[in-house]
Symmetry: C2
Subunit: 276 residues, 2 copies
Amino acid sequence: MKTVSENTCFGGTQGVYSHDSTAAGTEMTFGLFLPEEAKDGPVPILWYLSGLTCTHENAMTKAGAQAWAAEQGIAICFPDTSPRGEGVANDEAYDLGQGAGFYVNATQNPWAPHFNMWDYVADELPALLGENFNIDMDRQGITGHSMGGHGALTLAMNLPGRYRSVSAFSPIANPTQSDWGRKQLSAYLGDDETSWAKHDASLLMADAGFDGPVLIDQGADDQFLDLLKPEALAQAMAAKRQDGIFRMQKGYDHSYFFVASFMEDHINFHAEALWA
Amino acid sequence: MKTVSENTCFGGTQGVYSHDSTAAGTEMTFGLFLPEEAKDGPVPILWYLSGLTCTHENAMTKAGAQAWAAEQGIAICFPDTSPRGEGVANDEAYDLGQGAGFYVNATQNPWAPHFNMWDYVADELPALLGENFNIDMDRQGITGHSMGGHGALTLAMNLPGRYRSVSAFSPIANPTQSDWGRKQLSAYLGDDETSWAKHDASLLMADAGFDGPVLIDQGADDQFLDLLKPEALAQAMAAKRQDGIFRMQKGYDHSYFFVASFMEDHINFHAEALWA
């Protein structure tokens, strides 16, 4: 593991690190905020998964998350959204290939050799962090924005017991029924739609739900509402009697100005579960 | 004036606007955060001047300022750091020309036709905001980072009565004695150093000081300490018995992770003066 940069931030450290990833078969970069408390002992961790076109850097610089994580004494990890670099397949579209891993393990070529973001986020990166940093891997929460909200929700519901809490900002909520989903799931997983179901938050919610609290924020003026399909998730949460809150936020769009506006709420929500 | 973008943010609006500037002789772009309270009546304003290489966008997206401005009910304006575009002089160096206006009115060619950032920030932009937005121009404070901290301090001390409070993050504190200063003041103002004095915060502090409270934050691990010369300003503040606080922050560097870490303190400091 290599240290790309470390900056003191809100009394803790905002680091950027790179490493040779087995899951991705290439070098991967991630951001990690450690609060001051990590100098003395293990701290809980919140995963923040980013959206289409993002890298590890977007949320790390634009979401204002460190202020609240420092206050709560929890770490935040910002993984990249896909493998990158020469030899890694790509597509000209912004929503497929590099920057658009969709948090799945690809089974189809040309994606299969590198696009294993599910394994990377669920297994490889947690193991790496547990070995190298003062993090309590028994206290994990997960959140994300847009494609990353999809990733957070699908990981959380597929891995019961792993995360104590899950939240999302404007998640891609029903990808099997959206152009943000059908195209990518078809490309990465093939045309057999039965393999898609475990990557659709609304289907997972209707099925098993999540064994902990859920918080969803969605901007009412989001320019991508037709692609995100929040109504499918809201319906499934209510029908499942899921312990959770779904908030439609008047006036807000899909930008990081929206994410930053509600970051304090999300981090406090996770902190309550993580410190319980 | 044209609206480039508007995003709902912490209950208010983060806007970006452009306009044909008389002072700059070209189109200029600025960011403006208006808190929710501006819908009902005029609100105080804090100016945030950015550093070398920055545009109106850096602090607007990376400083986390809106959270605290919303809480205090004050606007923040993020001007650009220089004129830009075709026909505007430039230099290959990052620290001269576009992105490096140094908040002066250039008297020397090729800079004189467009590089009048002093007039732009002190006069033209306040007048434009006063006409177009719900802002109380009797309640202004000013802050900035690095070159922008230099701008904030020199504007504040040269225009007594204009700003109720001034603060700075790692300002270029003594430019007449620094390579971040001598090169630019010489290029923009010519070699007669008497014309430089009103653009040196430490000299101004030693002379008249500021007629209100001052807050300075400086990272102790700033990679540019030799260029910033904070010791000159700290000495001048103490010698002048200036109402003010100078804080050397252990472990922090020159980045926006430093700025964000202390933004709450700065906005609360200004809010106290602005609402008094």
